[in-house]
Amino acid sequence: MTGKKLLSVRNLEITFRTEGEDIPVVRDLSFDLDHGDTLGIVGESGCGKSITALSLLGLVPSPPGRISKGQILFEGEDLVQAGERRLNQVRGNDISMVFQEPMTSLNPVYTIGEQIAETARVHFGLSPAKAWARAVEMLDLVGIPSPDTRAHDFPHQLSGGMRQRVMIAIALVCEPKLLIADEPTTALDVTVQAQVFDLFQELKQKIGAAIILITHDIGVVAQMTNRVMVMYAGRKIEEGPVAEFIRDPRHPYTRGLVSCIPRLRLPPDDHPAPLFEIPGVVPSPWELNRPGCAFAPRCARAMARCRTENPVLAPLGDGRAAACWLETEAAA
């Protein structure tokens, strides 16, 4: 290793062209990831977390979307500048991705064995027989019983949980350095979710790939990752190690998120309180051209300054940072 970061995203801006106007959906986003590190990206629907993930693979749907600013440095190489040919070498090989919808993410007309094997053929130049053997091996690794016969199955013959295992097998077949999982269990039953996360935990040890886990479930982040990054309306608003983050969230939005987690065990003398919810809704990207903090309209502690100036990301020590004027002023 050259000592370079595995991934370093710098001032990323992604815009979507709507009615002749470029609307930013991700703004000024920077984050780093080391080899073998695990990062959780948390946020509500529409906060830009999925599109950020797609941008790492050069898969922002274009048009209407495009990366309008910034760099995505993967082992020092800027993927924003890379051509389609180079990106195809990286995709599925160095960086791979597991999507949210296992029911529709597999091609219905090819066997699952073929869908795993073709990736190995394309990237490793394996012979069809060797690639097939590798596919069977991967199915075994992700816990599919009797993999040599199941490899001949078509996606419709598998349950949602099994299909997601196949997606994971596809993602891991080339031993990527970075695995992005975009809400990998959202579409699954709760019991199956637990199984899939167990599989992730187990594989994390075996393959040593860095993982970016995108979710809206803080519980999952606590269980799966070392570090967490919270996004709101296209910006990073808080970042830090998971344990500190859960114990002491700083940004009012993150505090809200953490208090939204239902607790099963209450102290004996405590009365069960209604579950907290954050009032209001996420602003749409169109509303974000006005000045000020995007969260201010929903924030109980918003000050005059919050409505006029966008808060800067302030370091809080221990690798933590939050974008909130309250923090900045408390530090001053």
């Binding site: 090819y110 394309v122 078509f154 013959q157």
Partner: protein, 322 residues
């Protein structure tokens, strides 16, 4: 599986009987009968002769008796005699089916091949000139009546620029044989096939474009791209195989409807196929011939539906499981 196939065959058989009864009834409900047409062509006849002709063809019997006799004959494979050509209907159809199949398969297959290619390309570049061109062509092809397209092509390629023969399947004066005969037929084939193909092309380019657009937006195409597959693999392996499914369905259905599709084109170009025969039999009230053709085309539809079913099973693994 076997039980399912058996049920399908039984269904097809019942359908055929229903078609026979319906066709027969419909034609006999329509005003005018073959004897009137015949007498008309003869330039008139005595009432005695008319009565005699009626009784010879069995037309003086009540309708249900006629129907019974007809069905009984069909069961024995006898489709009757043409009232005009004085030939067995089966022989007539056998003689005319070749040209129709030649015309329709040429038109349909070239339209499917070219239409799919156009659709696939234009779906990939939605804003390109080619894509807009495909939309315009398919809209025009959809809207223009087939006989008008035929006449326009005649004006263009036979009258203004005398490249191609206007009608028939071979040159009347030529005694050509072997290779020259084949070339002569092909030469005559160009215009009618082109006319028919343009109509089909409009349909298939539109169908495959829409289907391809839908597939390209699907999650599994995103997966294929995220795997780092080269573009040609994403398009031709992952997208096309799925996008082709509706094309297969419609190709099967349309091939079953060869005759109805070809009637107008064959008439415009005097192509000696089943379409022309059907058209003539209607004018001449040649009921047995018309019924024979209708029955034959119904059989074609049913058979092609069964074939489509089989092909579909091969292309789409999801069907097999059911």
């Amino acid at each position: 599986m076997l039980k399912g196939s058996l049920r399908k065959l039984l269904n097809a058989l019942l359908l055929m009987i229903a078609v026979l009864v319906l066709n027969f009834t419909l034609i006999h409900i329509a005003p005018g009968d073959p004897v009137e047409a015949l007498v008309g062509e003869m330039g008139g006849a005595t009432p005695e002769l008319i009565a005699e002709l009626r009784s010879r063809f069995g037309l003086d019997q009540p309708l249900y008796v006629q129907l019974g006799t007809y069905l009984g004959r069909i069961a024995q494979g006898d489709f009757g005699h043409s009232l005009y050509y004085d030939q067995p209907v089966t022989a007539l159809i056998a003689e005319r089916i070749g040209p129709t199949i030649l015309l329709v398969t040429t038109a349909l297959f070239s339209a499917i091949a070219l239409g799919t290619v156009l659709g696939v390309f234009s779906a990939q570049r939605r804003r390109s000139v080619l894509s807009h061109l495909v939309t315009v062509i398919s809209l025009a092809g959809f809207s223009a009546p087939v006989f008008w397209v035929g006449i326009m092509l005649i004006l263009l390629l036979s009258v203004s620029v005398p490249l191609l023969p206007i009608s028939g399947m071979s040159s009347a004066d030529s005694a050509a044989s072997g290779l020259f005969y084949i070339l002569d037929v092909l030469h005559h084939l160009v215009l009618p096939a082109l006319t028919l193909a343009l109509i089909y092309l409009a349909f298939y380019s539109r169908l495959s474009r829409a289907s391809m657009l839908e597939v390209l937006g699907s999650d599994y195409i995103r997966t294929a791209r995220a795997k780092g597959l080269p573009k040609r693999m994403v398009i031709y392996k992952h997208a096309l195989r799925n996008a082709i499914l509706p094309v297969v369905t419609f190709a099967g259905l349309q091939f079953g409807q060869v005759i109805s599709g070809a009637v107008l084109v064959e008439t415009v170009f005097a192509w000696p196929g089943l379409g022309t025969l059907a058209f003539e039999s209607i004018l001449r009230r040649d009921t047995p011939t018309l019924l024979g053709i209708l029955f034959f085309s119904a059989v074609m539809v049913v058979v092609m539906n069964l074939v489509t079913d089989v092909v579909y099973r091969r292309v789409d693994p999801r069907i097999k499981a059911r």
